[in-house]
């Protein structure tokens, strides 16, 4: 990886829907970490595409529902193949995460290395808090994402961290 490579960590989810907020929480805890650019997304796939732009590697963090035990952490390397069709976050959007990745791949916009971390959720009602199982998985997930990004950046010099949660658009 070149010396100025960047890794973007994208937290995907909805802060109002219980376990669906997990991805956002994990990404938020990585804000300010050296060499990691953090972005937040509500999962609108087209916007995910824009976030992938210019990154050499991308780590996405999202809630999934696949029937596994709640709190299970899944890891999918989608650099060369799609997400499996069954693990699927409750799709409240027209184009979800999996489709956005394939769209990027089809348009030649997918970074060379893309890994998706999913945490198995069980509680998604609007207004609900995260379930205990998912809450317990947050810190291990943060650690896993941090490890993965460091692995990718092992040979890269320090870069300015960016946090996608700060307001942008003003000078």
């Amino acid at each position: 990886m070149p010396a100025d490579a960047t890794v973007v960590v994208i937290g995907v989810g909805n802060s109002l829907r219980g376990d669906d907020s997990a991805g956002l929480e994990v990404a938020a805890r990585l804000c300010g970490e050296p060499r990691i650019n953090v972005r937040m997304s509500e999962g609108e796939g087209i916007d995910l595409l824009a976030m992938l732009e210019g990154a050499d590697a991308a780590l996405l963090v999202d809630a999934v529902r696949s029937g596994a035990t709640p709190g299970t952490i899944h890891r999918y390397d989608v650099s060369d193949e799609p997400l499996p069709s069954s693990p699927r976050r409750p799709a409240g959007h027209a184009i979800g995460t999996a489709a956005a990745i394939e769209l990027a791949r089809r348009l030649g916009r997918l970074p060379a290395k893309v890994v998706v971390f999913g945490v198995e959720g069980e509680r998604f009602e609007t207004g609900s808090a995260r379930s205990p199982a998912v809450q317990a998985a947050i810190e291990p997930l943060v650690a896993a994402v941090r490890r993965e990004s460091r692995r990718l950046l092992a040979t890269v010099a320090a870069a300015e961290p960016e946090c996608g949660d700060r307001s942008r658009g003003f000078g």
């Binding site: 824009a50 027209a94 942008r168």
Partner: protein, 435 residues
Amino acid sequence: MSLITGSGERTLRVDYLARVEGEGAMYIKLSGNEVEDVRLRIYEPPRFFEAFLRGRAYTEVPDIAARICGICPIAYQTSGARAIEDACGVSIDDGPIRDLRRLIYCGEWIESHALHVYALHAPDFLGYQSMIELAGEHPQLAEQGLALKKTGNRLVALIGGREIHPINMRVGGFYRAPTRTELLTLRDPLARALEQSLATVRFAAQLPMPDVARDVELVCLRDRDLYPIDRGQIVSDRGLEIEPAQFARNIVEEHVQHSNALHARIRERGAYLTGPLARYNLCYDQLRPVAKEAAVEAGLERACHNPFQSIIVRAVELVDACDEALELVARYEPPDRPAVEVTPRRGVGHGVSEAPRGMLYHRYELDDDGTILDARIVPPTSQNQLAIEQDLRAVVERYHDLDDDELRLRCEQAIRNHDPCISCATHFLQLTVER
């Protein structure tokens, strides 16, 4: 998926509608050639926003209401702010603050319509499963759609401070007004977006589409001399002409057993349709010249009652929004202050604006200190649900000869004519659905 019973009955069910915002399902029952039942089921977990808002301060409306919809937060913030302003005796109808509101709203129309045309609906007309296949065969088209959405997002982010749930909107205007220099950074992207929009009209115009005419009352806002976006009177093509304050006297909402959303009807008349078709038919004369020309070249008539042509109308509105945004950027001078003073007082206020999907109505009742005593929010998709179900019935009656898979696709396409945003429509109490 469908099943055929022995008595010549067919039931088509789509348990999860793809390529709409939010979650919804469709249920159709046929007996021979007779359409027995048609239902659009909305089971997005309901939003409790009308309840959330009770007890909150009047200043919190833009931030809270924006979270009802990730695709059209500006619509909620605008209708909400205008309703609070109305309650407090304020109406922002001209000047740089009004211009900024229209400009950021243009950004929302651009990104929402671009998303709809390229990602949600064009695949239907071309026989693709999704935008992925479209991108595979026509990458330049996909790139065009992405570029348009990106420009819309940039415009919203520049004025709103953030792409989703913009943080710069407030009752009375904005927390900070952009500088002229900041807005001018969007001049070139918007000029390109205008070209891309015109190409989008040409693309939509040549899509194969059924020739269908639907007879339903059309309702939208009408503004003095501008295509309706941020304010106006409520009008229809059957004689409705009312101030926003008269909404409840003319439109009733009912719970329907099979859906979490409420069904809206015009008193003593019935279903109605709001959105691009309504705006186009009722406010055609207010379209900007470049948009009118594009409509003519696309073969659209002055009156358009074919829901399948909505995709062309949305593309025409893309042109209009890009062209207006360019003008607003060019003539912008920052206001003396980014917001007008809004002093809370006891009373009721109403606010309506045209979200990309149609008319969005807010009503608030305030206490002396601006505490919200009551809130009512009526989203466009909720108002359209009955008309969409009637559309479905007409489509099934016409195409019942198709095999189940083809009929199902045709029905889904017909639902997506109206670009339903189901996330917005279900923010009320949960209903029990019986089968």
